[in-house]
């Protein structure tokens, strides 16, 4: 497998304390990779480390042949990684359409093809494109957030708990959208609280605990692993 993203023994944290301890993971082209693990394991922190949103004290971040460790966020975005944070991932006071437009901020020239692509994935958003994003339901906000991240046609999409707090119906819909997006050639790395469902649908998974790699494998293997099941999937 040629890795699109390779996190190589990343160590770092927010202040002086290290949250991530030698975390490594890879995402291949056309892959959906999921990170699962208990609360506070450092899953979100691992995602933020891709964008250098914390102090990295060891290891390096390789993306598509470039060492992107220490790059400014807008350069990383331009290079092809878009990121949907776990919280505060929309512009509340802006309309759906404006949220998407901001997602496409770095694109030179016409955005209409990008709008078409996103609105095809999320027909609901097109209908309500003038609505303020802050007034939408949780599920629809999540779609705006993902839509915003897709506007630049990224090579890799980072999604931090896109299904948190959503009904099973919405969860299934978001997973389906992930597959559709992957089928258009976008690799996805996501963090999931719904570990079982996520491992069942992802190509590969990583189990993170206390800031360290604990297990990795295909979704099916991890689901079948007794230790993983007992410790992290609630039996």
């Amino acid at each position: 497998m040629t890795a699109l993203l390779a996190m190589e023994e990343i160590t770092g944290g927010y202040g002086d304390a290290d949250i991530l301890l030698d975390v490594s993971l890879k995402v291949g082209k056309d892959e959906i990779v999921v990170i699962v693990g208990p609360n506070g394991a450092g899953k979100s922190t691992a995602m933020k480390s891709v964008f250098g949103l914390l102090t990295i004290r060891g290891g390096r971040m390789m993306f598509d042949g470039d060492n992107i460790t220490g790059w400014a966020p807008n350069r990383i975005v331009q290079r092809g990684i878009c990121y949907v944070p776990q919280v505060d991932n929309i512009f509340r006071e802006m309309s759906i359409h404006e949220n998407l437009e901001m997602g496409g901020f770095l694109k030179k020239g016409d955005l209409s093809a990008a709008f078409d692509r996103v609105y095809t994935l999320f027909p609901d958003l097109k209908e309500r494109h003038k609505t303020l994003a802050g007034s939408l339901s949780g599920g629809q906000r999540q779609m705006v957030a993902i839509g915003r991240a897709l506007m630049l046609d990224p090579k890799l999409l980072l999604l931090d708990e896109p299904t948190a707090g959503l009904s099973p119906k919405y969860m299934e819909q978001i997973f389906q959208i992930c597959r559709d997006v992957r089928d258009t050639g976008v690799a996805i790395l996501l963090v999931e609280q719904h570990a079982k469902q996520a491992l069942a649908f992802a190509d590969r998974g990583y189990v993170l605990a206390a800031g360290k790699n604990r297990h990795e494998g295909t979704g099916a293997d991890l689901l079948a692993d007794r230790e993983v099941a007992e410790m992290f999937l609630g039996g």
Partner: protein, 290 residues
Amino acid sequence: MDFLELLNFYVIPGIVIGSIYALGAVGITLIFAILRYAHLAHGDLATLGAFVALAVVSGLGVSPLAALPVAIVATAAVAVGIDKVFYEHLRERPKIVTVMASLGIALMIRSVVQVFWGVDTQTYVRGIVRPEDYFGLRIRDREIYTVLAMLLLVGALQVFLTRSKWGKAMRAMSDNPNLALLSGIDNKKVVVLTWVIAGGLCAAAGFFLGLNTELKSLMGWSMLLPVFAAAILGGVGRVEGAVLGGLIVGVAEELSVLWIPSEYKAGMAFVILLFMLLVRPTGLLRGKVL
């Protein structure tokens, strides 16, 4: 007192001074929305704008209104410069550090004004301007220009914020700075843009204050309290709120002399500010950034 008298002596002057406050308050609100601190040098920056216009009027012999664009451009440039030299490297520090720094800048600008233009009272045009009579309403031309210019400038700003790419980027930065960064929006450019707009509006506020009253080195400083009251009254972060707040504070100040001695007129802004902070700190139009 009849109704026309009320309009002529209190409401119309209130709307005029309110428009001037509005121009200042919009800048205060924008700076707070993007940079998240109270800019205390705003009043003195307005003073500078007013005196730059005076220099153009007396130097080139043009009419005051023709000098306004020059004052706007110059003050915008000064505002950007001040940010680059003084505020930029305080960005990561607690905001109160920048607030205190801006107080220092206020004193500095005032000194510069006093060195160049002295401490005496000056005017753009000499002599008394008599108001025209419009069906009993007595209005001076300069008062019409003031209100029109405010509406025009704020209207243009609203179009910019809602229609243009960079205007939307400014709103995005105010709404969710972290996500704006993750969308690739260059926050340095947004900050420069904010100072250009706030500085330009500030010059307009100072200019029209000078045009309707007189120019003196403390003119802007004494406008600071009503301008902040206006911004908070309207809801911090809301441009249309700042305009509404400015007009209310202006009219309230003028009307207050019906009940209290006019020396205490300036206290109205303070009363409004206190009242809003106690009763509805988010402002009339719910503030976006508090």
